[in-house]
Point group: C2
């Protein structure tokens, strides 16, 4: 198994992993991006994200996708958006290898914090994160406004 930076040519396989996970989570239609969108946004002069991929016999079996965020207290931080291992390749240490690689990247870039989210029922993951030194913040809720609701709200405000 080899961990390396994701390249343009890997994006179709990275998208396949994203779709596999969305299907597993019973939301196959939630993925609205395609491989070209990943290439366009991840490999421009100011990339919207970075990836590491795990490769076995030229097959991409896992990926981690991350990007910079900005804390008004700490400055630049790294956000780990997604870490996916192909279903039939779990238990081989691929997830941990990708996790370690992202953390190493963050360390080298001297960011003050690495951040991600976890579902509250995923106790295995929570235990793993805590053992590695991460803190689980249970008193913050994530708030999201969809494109549709954004448009509705702005209309009620007579902004659009």
């Amino acid at each position: 198994m080899r961990i390396r930076k994701g390249e343009k040519k890997d994006m179709p396989q990275v998208l396949a992993l994203i779709n596999e996970l969305a299907t597993f989570e019973k939301e196959p239609d939630a993925v609205v991006i395609d491989a070209d969108y990943l290439i366009e946004n991840g490999f421009s002069n100011s990339p919207a994200f970075f990836t590491y991929v795990a490769e076995i016999d030229h097959e991409i079996v896992g990926m981690a996708l991350f990007y910079y965020r900005f804390s008004t207290w700490k400055g630049k931080t790294i956000h780990l958006e997604d870490l996916i291992v192909k279903k039939d390749k779990r238990g081989l240490g691929i997830g941990k290898a990708l996790y370690n690689q992202v953390l190493k990247f963050a360390y080298k870039k001297q960011v003050k914090r690495v951040e991600w989210v976890v579902l509250d029922w995923n106790t295995n993951a929570i235990d793993f994160y805590e053992k590695s030194g991460a803190t689980i913040l249970k008193d913050w809720y994530t708030v999201q406004m969809s494109e549709e609701n954004l448009a509705s709200y702005l209309k009620t405000q007579q902004i659009i």
Copy 2:
């Protein structure tokens, strides 16, 4: 009251708002950045964040700081990191004006989602967000690893 894009010259006052809030939250030492850091990171060729400021009689009385994130399902999204109104200027609609301005920016950029976080005890804010069409996700925890714990973990993994 005037809402406009934040400029380099506003960053000392933006930092003052950040520090005021940190002091109010009894964490005055948590802010490790300074105004030069904000200028360096927010006004480069690929800015780490954007700001809107609220101005009354040439004084900055509020600010919203936001940046792009990247969802593997939705593509580019906007994250609202901080929205602060000076303590003695609350109740004048400044917060809502900044909120609307950020949402308008997101709408114009055609992002698929706007996201932020809220403390679970802040029911006034939660009610306001829900009324405006946002969804509160209560089943996700935020996970953070500090710079110090990052170094410790990577040492145990013999990576550094």
